[in-house]
Symmetry: C2
Subunit: 215 residues, 2 copies
Amino acid sequence: MIHTNRAILSFIEDQLTEAEKKDRVFLQTWPAGGHILRQGQGNKYVFVQRTGLSKVHITEDNGKDFIVQFLGEGELMGEIEVIQKNPNLTTITALTEVTAWCITTDYFAYLITHNAELNRLLLISLAHRLNQTSARASYQQVYPAEYAMLKLLAVLATLETPFTKRDLADYLGVSVRSFNRTLKQLRERSIVHPDSFDLYINRDAFERLMREYGE
Amino acid sequence: MIHTNRAILSFIEDQLTEAEKKDRVFLQTWPAGGHILRQGQGNKYVFVQRTGLSKVHITEDNGKDFIVQFLGEGELMGEIEVIQKNPNLTTITALTEVTAWCITTDYFAYLITHNAELNRLLLISLAHRLNQTSARASYQQVYPAEYAMLKLLAVLATLETPFTKRDLADYLGVSVRSFNRTLKQLRERSIVHPDSFDLYINRDAFERLMREYGE
DNA sequence: GAAAAAATGGGACATTTGTCCCAACCTCAC
DNA sequence: GTGAGGTTGGGACAAATGTCCCATTTTTTC
């Protein structure tokens, strides 16, 4: 649910010499709520997130947001646009303070054509995200929201990252009202621990329910 | 809505010599309904569709299908799995008779690391599909089915390709019943021409309606 | 060309989800 | 501290969508 890519981060931090970085690769910090990338604009840099949590989202004309994914340590941002030479399809917003490496688009374009290792890492990252995106689009369309929500809660239960319900609902593509309603029903069926926002899951009941969807 | 990639097809057909192709690149044909790739299995070849129409779909545990995309001339199939070294996430089924180039996975892996042109075409294709997939997931979640359906009908109206309603509904992630119901309402509002399955669109009414969604 | 299988069209009803609304908390800036 | 704005929780109702079903029509198969 939160995409990370330790290999790419490590490439930037360990494989590039100071001379190579010069003024083409540098660190920048955004406060929570800051925009790293804006939908519709072109950008001068490709980013590799070093610390913090951000969201990749699309704001539709009717004002509603869809969250494509959450990004953690190491994930690339803005590389699609460089490859396609298109303006950004998405906005990336910092949810906590975010620190990221900024790589000028020119240098990034140079690197992916001249450095086999980064080229390989990029292909793997794109393939992985394409799979994730397709798989998620599929089950969010095919199953009721409850199912997607359970999958999400199962992941959240292992994290302490504080997401707002607004963001979780946007990720699932449902309204906050629906999110709350489903959560309430899961509490009443003792699948989620009743303590308000602590999303502890009753593993047995959870497994049973997930099996129900698969037949 | 139907992905094509003339550049990749042209690369395979024009850039590779007969000596290079040998027994590593050859043509194969599937009848309508045949499976080019099966979800969960590994595959020995990467395919480049030459003629015909196919669908990339995911069958969920509950038996429902979600169509990730339709493929036309030139699009790559099975390359994600080679890059990721994973079994197929999707099934690819021929909708009409399909002819495709088959490239052994070993040779394909060799090509993308040793041929800069194919590597570039692959990056562009992946980036493009990632954008398409994200954009579609977004508006299918954020807008009512009617909106996605209108976008789809607008494309269909320019084609003569005969899709079944089952496939169109699977693509939109709704039941056939819902698809029919929405279609009926659009007919009643004179946005779609009343003649049954001929999806002629009243362009003026269509544009007006699409604008309504954007505010 | 007849039988079987698949696709179409839609009624009736149940379920899911959204919209609108209000109330109770937080929290952050001044 | 206090007031504005955001977050949470949920009631009431409307709208969208799914399920089940049956009657036709079309396509496929032998």
